[in-house]
Amino acid sequence: MTEETVQRFSVGWRLQHLILALGVTGLAASGLAIRYYATPYGKFVLGMLGGISACGLFHRIFALTLGIATIWHIFMILFTREGHEDFLALMPEKGDKTRWLKAIHSKLTGGEYEAEWGRYTFGQKVQYWMVATGVLLMIATGSILLFGHRSIAFLPKWLVDTVRVVHGGQGVELMAFLILWHLYSTHFAPGRFPMARSWINGKITLSELKLYHKREFRKLFPNRPAE
């Protein structure tokens, strides 16, 4: 018997997430190859793509993909009810900090505390804001680097050099963050492996909703037992 599910993400969100994932993956793959060009990985990717200029071109194409996803995301937040509500749901709320600290304490001590989260867990909110600010920083610095030496005609060289360091540093940080937290928690964590399918079909089972987003469950199904 198929378990009952609820629609969590619309087609728009999922398509946007897919474009974002493609863009970020492509940017990370090509960006790391450029940054670590002398490593076996860098040599392999640059060899596959046909050199550093070609790799740079791919990096810019993936940057365009990321830009499209970002503009679409901002448009949804500003001009659609769904986007606006989801954005508000991602805002930190009262009690988040206490629940999060209790959850960490429980994790460290092997306790049984299960925080009752709303539509998004505090961890998901942190992930969103880290990625959102990280991506905006990458777009801002990347736009300066996109124009290469022409940027130096308007900005002092030391600032462009600083921007390059920020872009590279933030890129690596963002990648470590996405792989070790986002991909782990949604795909590889015990109980989730091989993946939470909501990024494909947009649905979540009622048992998962109850387990991970108890307050959201109560809100959607006020007449059903949450325990």
Binding site: Y37, A153, W158, Y184
Partner: protein
């Protein structure tokens, strides 16, 4: 009568030993009958007067002192010899495997494949041969200060044909150190090679755009050498990690190499107003490739090493991201371990 005969005989014997090669049975004696006269000249086609005098003292001081004229001028088999003798072929003795003690090595083959050798093979009249650099009758070892190929004289020797390059080099930081007698300073052959000098466009040339960083770094990446002169060795690494350096490594020869910015023969310290990398000249230097270059190009370090505290804000930001990423990795890996541990504990607990 008998006494006067004896005296004449003694006088002739003494003369034999005291009046030089021209008056003796030395194999060169016949040659020096003419070539030993300082005013022995010939007027060549363009009206120039060419001296045919051979200063025997120079020959005696040369590495070829033990050889006679015809060992080199082998075509001369009788006197008078024909005018316009062909150029002496040094390869008569100087070939790999020779038995006469001439230096062994690859230099003969290298010369043949060099820009000079190829020009010679093509019959170009101005192509330099061995004699143009090593000299003719006065050939000396390169360690001999009188040799045209001694460190001190190489620039002048090359400058016989490459006038401007030699002049620029002599004024440069490298050339001025050579003139001071600094044994560390590079000479023409340090960068261009000796017998194997090739066209700059030849990928095998030491001064080909793709090879310039390696050629310069032969000295400029040596910490013991550069420390003596207060020159950083990190310049090589920072160049290699820059856009220019990476592009060169991947075969984009139009990307700037060391000489694109620092100059070729006319390299000066950055503090020198004549230097192309002097802060005042940087916009013009960068402008050779970047048409929109302006004063902003000079606002900041050129060779940026993000791991060097002297890079200022760049160093601090790079360090910030380094430690942020390390912290992120530690925290998130710890999170995974604790998460898995907790899930395992929960699973083991009885219902």
């Amino acid at each position: 009568m008998k006494r006067s005969y004896c005296l004449t005989l003694i006088a002739l014997i003494l003369l034999q030993y005291t009046n030089g090669w021209a008056q003796t049975n030395h194999p060169d004696a016949k040659c020096l009958i003419c070539h030993g006269k300082p005013n022995f000249t010939v007027t060549i086609a363009d009206g120039q007067v060419k001296s045919l005098y051979v200063d025997t003292s120079l020959v005696k001081a040369s590495v070829h002192a033990r050889w006679s004229c015809t060992d080199c001028h082998a075509v001369v088999t009788s006197i008078p010899h024909p005018a316009n003798l062909p150029r002496v072929e040094c390869t008569q003795c100087h070939f790999s495997g020779n038995k006469v003690g001439a230096p062994q090595g690859d230099m003969y083959d290298q010369y043949r494949e060099s820009v000079h050798g190829l020009a010679s093979s093509a019959g170009k009249p101005n192509a330099p041969h061995c004699q143009n650099c090593h000299g003719t009758h006065q050939i000396r070892r390169h360690t001999d200060l009188e040799s045209p190929i001694s460190r001190m004289n190489v620039s002048a020797t090359c400058g016989k044909c490459h006038t401007k390059e030699s002049s620029d080099f002599d004024q440069s930081i490298h050339g001025s150190e050579v003139i001071k007698g600094n044994p560390d300073a590079p000479i023409c052959t340090s960068c261009h090679g000796e017998h194997e000098i090739r066209m700059r466009s030849d990928p095998a040339s030491q001064v080909n755009a793709a090879n310039i960083p390696n050629t310069c770094s032969a000295c400029h990446s040596s910490a013991p050498l550069m420390t003596q002169y207060g020159v950083r060795t990190t310049q090589v690494k920072t160049y290699e990690d820059s856009f220019h350096g990476i592009a060169i490594k991947f075969g984009q020869k139009q990307a700037a190499n060391c000489s694109s910015c620092h100059g070729i023969h006319d390299i000066y310290p950055a503090s020198d107003a004549r230097s192309s990398v002097n802060v005042v000249n940087i916009p013009h230097t960068c402008g050779n490739c970047h048409k929109d270059a302006n004063a902003n190009y000079a606002r900041g370090r050129i060779h940026v090493d993000a791991e060097d505290p002297e890079a200022g804000i760049i160093y601090y930001i790079a360090s910030f991201f380094k430690y942020l990423t390390i912290t992120t990795l530690i925290v998130l890996i710890l999170n995974i371990i604790l998460d898995v541990r907790r899930k395992l504990i929960t699973r083991k607990k009885p219902e």
